[in-house]
């Protein structure tokens, strides 16, 4: 094991179901790995300190702030981003509900909310309003006042 190497880290990771082999600078965040190395810019940068949730992605089924994960850490893991939510069959029910309920205004927080909400509904298909609000407290939205976001998640649940 070398510790002096300034070199890049060889990472094999599955992103939205597709395997990627990457050379990642050791200090590069998962957020930048997705955005800069792979070109998946759907995951957004908001604060770089884990307080806004705009960069939320799922790693092995758990939602995380990708600004607080190193790209090197996802070696051998499954990463899911907003770009992986829709399939050839169409939008994920949450995406459809966000559109129908007008749950986005500027839309910059939307990818993070969608990935976070999917993380909830995948495990708890029928959460209460309170549970939805609690689960999404790590995602800031400054446009909507959350009303229509909560309604959209409710619509996509059950």
């Amino acid at each position: 094991m070398t510790t002096k190497s300034p070199g890049k880290i060889h990472v094999t990771t599955t992103i939205n179901g597709q395997e990627h082999e990457l050379l990642v600078p050791p200090y590069m965040s998962l957020l930048d790995t997705l955005r800069e190395l792979i070109g998946l810019t759907g995951t957004k940068e908001g604060c770089l300190d884990g307080n806004c949730g705009a960069c939320t992605v799922s790693v092995d089924g758990r939602i995380v702030d990708s600004c607080l994960v190193l790209g090197a850490e996802v070696n051998g893991k499954n990463v899911d981003t907003v770009e992986g939510m829709a399939t050839a069959e169409g939008l994920h029910p949450l995406q459809q509900a966000f559109l129908e309920e007008a749950a986005l205004q500027c839309g910059i927080c939307t990818p993070g909310f969608l990935v976070a909400a999917k993380g909830l509904l995948d495990n708890e298909p029928s959460p209460t309003e309170g549970r939805i609000r609690h689960w999404l407290a790590g995602n800031l939205c400054r446009c909507t006042g959350y009303d229509k976001i909560v309604r959209a998640v409710q619509k996509a649940s059950s």
Binding site: P25, Y27, M28, D32, R35, E36, G39, L40, T41, G42, T43, K44, E45, G46, C47, L48, D49, N51, C52, A54, T81, V82, E83, A86, L91, Q95, F98, L99, E100, E101, A102, L104, Q105, C106, G107, I108, C109, T110, P111, L114, E129, I132, R133, H134, L136, A137, G138, N139, L140, C141, R142, C143, T144, G145, Y146, D147, K148, I149, V150, R151
Partner: protein
């Protein structure tokens, strides 16, 4: 241009809720926001920022940074073009290019913490940040001014030695006071002398930030023929172009601004920050340069809305009629002049008819970031003071505060505090809707043990603006229409524009494909701000659509070999006035244009002097833990005259979003400044914007009093809803705990103090 309409009511598209056109890209991550921009050979720029709020720069040594591997260009104040001192109107606020330039990059003095002193472009962001740490700056630290009272003291350090202040028309030098304005009418002193009830109170508010989630960003190229291309998140591509050209001292035609998707602005993305710096770094490096602002810098160097000190005095007669009012308003401008005291004066008394009033406003420099518009800039501050004072006056006189607001409501013909007469407005209708609302008629309910509940109401007002907008239409052979319009879309406005066009043409909302144009694909359009977008750009779209109908009538005349004047158009069908059975649908006609003269295009533009005022009222129910001072909002309703709601979902969204920003401002948000001018809470962790868990559902009541200045009766809706929440919550807290708070934020600590 002033036209009046008797808006129609039998709409096919207006008032429906189609899925927004840009929605699919935004829920799938495909939408390209400013920060997502990529170009071949792109490099990254960062700023070196001052750790001091007020200091003279003695020296800057960038040599170590410039020598670092991977660094392409280094920029300091010495590289900034020398802009002239000249005031330019940006629609919602003015700009002086000299000061705007100095705000982006310090010359020989830093005026706020985080003030850029150098910028570096390097192969990637990490390298640029490392290089930035190698820049050595020597400072002579000066005493910082962090509030308006200290700024006006005789021994206060002067921020801008060359500032000439305007004190009611007199020039003043060696001052931190940029302007003092006054509006006065009636016999104020006489009215107060005759008043049966008077009240005078002082209110203080800390600066707050717009809090958009997307940081500022810009990508620029400066090419061989001195053409500058900018891709950015902006609230107005054209006003951005004006600023960039002014700061860089080039012609506007040398600058092309392409607005990418924008992640919130609320006024804060009207000013440019990185665009000119990225352009200069591109010029120096010969490479495209991208900059994305770190969150701390967003708080420390962009946005905020003014902190304020305000003294309000009200007088009323025995019957509860307001007879006199004065307002003294000191606003923090930050490091350059321009603190929105004009809008504050326009708004302070607007919901009330008062015969005798005076307003004095002062625009004061402090060592904080230069303020930027924030959703009804200046109005939430004065609403907090005025609506709190109104409630306290009612408490002292024993009047019902809703009845008082009804009895004193502004109406057509009421004179606003700055002298303007109202035309058709909906304040009275809003108050009537309040009386009938479910929330107002529901009991507050009993508080659990250890808690107290209260209910408060407050009015809010924004005058809304019109200004310039442009739109282009092109008809496709399948009967769909391409719309290119100039307003950047922050909250679904593209779809409202398309709906204007669809309503005129008798086609579906999704038969119109709207695009936000760059500065070379559509005519000049002012900012997305001032609650003007749906009103003014929608109006331009309506004109463009009507012009397209005229173009098509020509083609129908050719088709049927009749006179154009004999062609009628209604609900998407052209018909012959002479032979009623002779008709052709809009889409069918579109398919025949190849034989009828070719492409059918049209354009529309407006320059609207006035806009139709926006009034609202909010009801807030709070529950307060008397042991901890914690306030929870347990029910909340926003009621507003929206004229005509084009897309009701997004109108509701404006009311809800504005209400929640106001709730955050009321309860927790503030620039917590240390004495040395540092914002101690410059992160989303400690700048406490509401989360989903801090709020109930936000109920809305859309009151529709169609605006006669718009063909469909639209009034701007975006800004009014941030005005009532702060006083509504102040009034609710008073109702709950029996003590009134006069300063924001009204946080747990202040409530505990009040309960002592």
């Amino acid at each position: 241009m002033v036209a009046t309409f008797e808006p129609k009511t039998d709409y096919k598209v207006v008032g429906t809720r189609p899925i927004r056109h840009d929605g699919y890209d935004k829920v799938t991550g495909r939408a390209i926001y400013g920060g997502d921009m990529k170009l071949p050979g792109l490099i990254w720029g960062v700023c070196v920022r001052s750790p001091h709020a007020h200091a003279n720069i003695k020296s800057i040594d960038t040599s170590a940074a410039a020598a670092m591997d991977g660094v392409f260009a280094v920029l300091t104040g010495a590289d900034m073009p020398k802009a002239e001192s000249k005031l330019v109107d940006l629609g919602e606020g003015n700009i002086n290019f000299k000061w705007a330039s100095n705000k982006l990059m310090a010359d020989n003095k830093v005026l706020y913490k985080g003030h850029p002193v150098a910028a570096i472009a390097a192969v990637d962001r990490y390298t640029a940040e490392e290089a930035a740490r190698l820049v050595k700056v020597e400072y002579e630290v000066l005493k910082s001014i962090t509030n308006v009272v200290d700024a006006l003291k005789p021994d206060a350090p002067i921020l801008l030695p060359d500032l000439v202040g305007d004190d009611l028309g007199e020039d003043v030098t060696n001052t931190n006071m940029a302007a003092h304005v006054r509006h006065e009418f009636g016999d104020v002193e006489g009215a107060f002398a005759a008043a049966a009830h008077t009240i005078e109170r002082e209110y203080n508010m800390q600066m707050v930030h717009q809090g958009y989630i997307e940081p500022h960003n810009a990508t620029a190229t400066w090419d061989e023929e001195d053409r500058i291309k900018i891709w950015t998140s902006t609230q107005g591509a054209f006003p951005a172009r004006t600023q960039i050209a002014g700061i860089l001292q080039v012609n506007v035609s040398q600058v092309k601004v392409t607005p990418l998707e924008i992640g919130g602005g609320f006024g804060g993305k009207i000013p440019v920050y990185f665009e000119p710096l990225a352009a200069l770094l591109s010029k120096k490096s010969g490479r495209p340069v991208k900059m994305v602002m770190e969150r701390t810098a967003v708080f420390e160097t962009t946005g905020p809305t003014p902190g304020a000190r305000m003294i309000i005095k009200l007088g009323a007669d025995v019957d509860g009629k307001l007879t006199a009012a004065t307002a003294d308003i000191w606003f923090e401008a930050g490091a350059n002049p321009g603190a929105f005291i004009g809008p504050a004066a326009m708004c302070v008394y607007a919901p009330y008819e008062i015969a005798n009033t005076r307003i004095d406003g002062w625009d004061i420099l402090v060592n904080k970031p230069k303020v930027a518009p924030y959703r009804a800039p200046g109005s939430p501050q004065v609403a907090f003071a005025m609506e709190s004072a109104v409630d306290e006056l009612c408490e002292e006189a024993g009047w019902d505060s809703l009845k008082f607001r009804i009895d004193n409501a502004s109406k057509a013909g009421t004179r606003r505090g700055d002298g303007v007469l109202f035309s058709k407005i909906g304040m009275e209708e809003v108050l009537e809707a309040t009386k009938e609302s479910a929330h107002w008629n529901a009991p507050l309910g009993d508080a659990p043990a250890g808690k107290k509940r209260g209910r408060g109401i407050a009015n809010g007002y924004w005058f809304n603006i019109g200004l310039k907008s442009s739109a282009n239409l092109a008809l496709n052979s399948d009967g769909t229409v391409q719309l290119t319009e100039g307003s950047t879309d922050i909250g679904g406005s593209r779809t409202s524009m398309a709906m204007h066009v669809a309503e005129v043409l008798g086609i579906g909302a999704h038969d119109v494909r709207p695009t936000v144009g760059d500065t070379e694909s559509v005519g000049y359009t002012d900012v997305t701000g001032g609650s003007r977008t749906t009103y003014a750009t929608g109006y331009a779209c309506w004109i463009a659509a009507n012009n397209l109908v005229e173009v098509l009538k020509d083609r129908v005349a050719v088709l049927w070999d009749i006179n154009k004047d004999d062609v009628d158009f209604k609900d998407g069908v052209f018909s012959s006035k002479a032979e009623a059975q002779k008709t052709i649908g809009f889409k069918e006609l579109a398919g025949k244009l190849g034989d009828l003269g070719g492409p059918a295009n049209s354009t529309g533009s407006v320059d609207l002097e006035s806009a139709g005022d926006g009034f609202g009222l909010h009801i807030a129910d709070v529950e307060i833990d008397v042991e901890t001072g914690k306030t929870d909002i347990i029910r909340y309703t926003a009621i507003q005259d929206v004229g005509t709601a084009i897309h009701p979902s997004y109108v509701e969204g404006q009311l809800q979003g504005g209400a929640v920003q106001g709730i955050g401002w009321a309860l927790n948000e503030e620039y917590f400044m240390t004495d040395d001018g540092t914002m101690a809470n410059s992160s989303f962790l400690d700048y406490r914007m509401p989360t989903s868990l801090d709020l109930p559902l936000i109920e809305t009541v859309l009151v529709e009093v169609p605006n006669p200045l718009h063909p469909y009766g639209v009034r701007g809706v975006g800004e009014t809803p941030i005005c009532p929440p702060i006083p509504a919550i102040a009034n609710a807290i008073k109702d709950a705990i029996g003590t009134r708070l006069y300063n924001t934020p009204m946080n747990a600590g202040s409530i505990l103090e009040a309960l002592k």
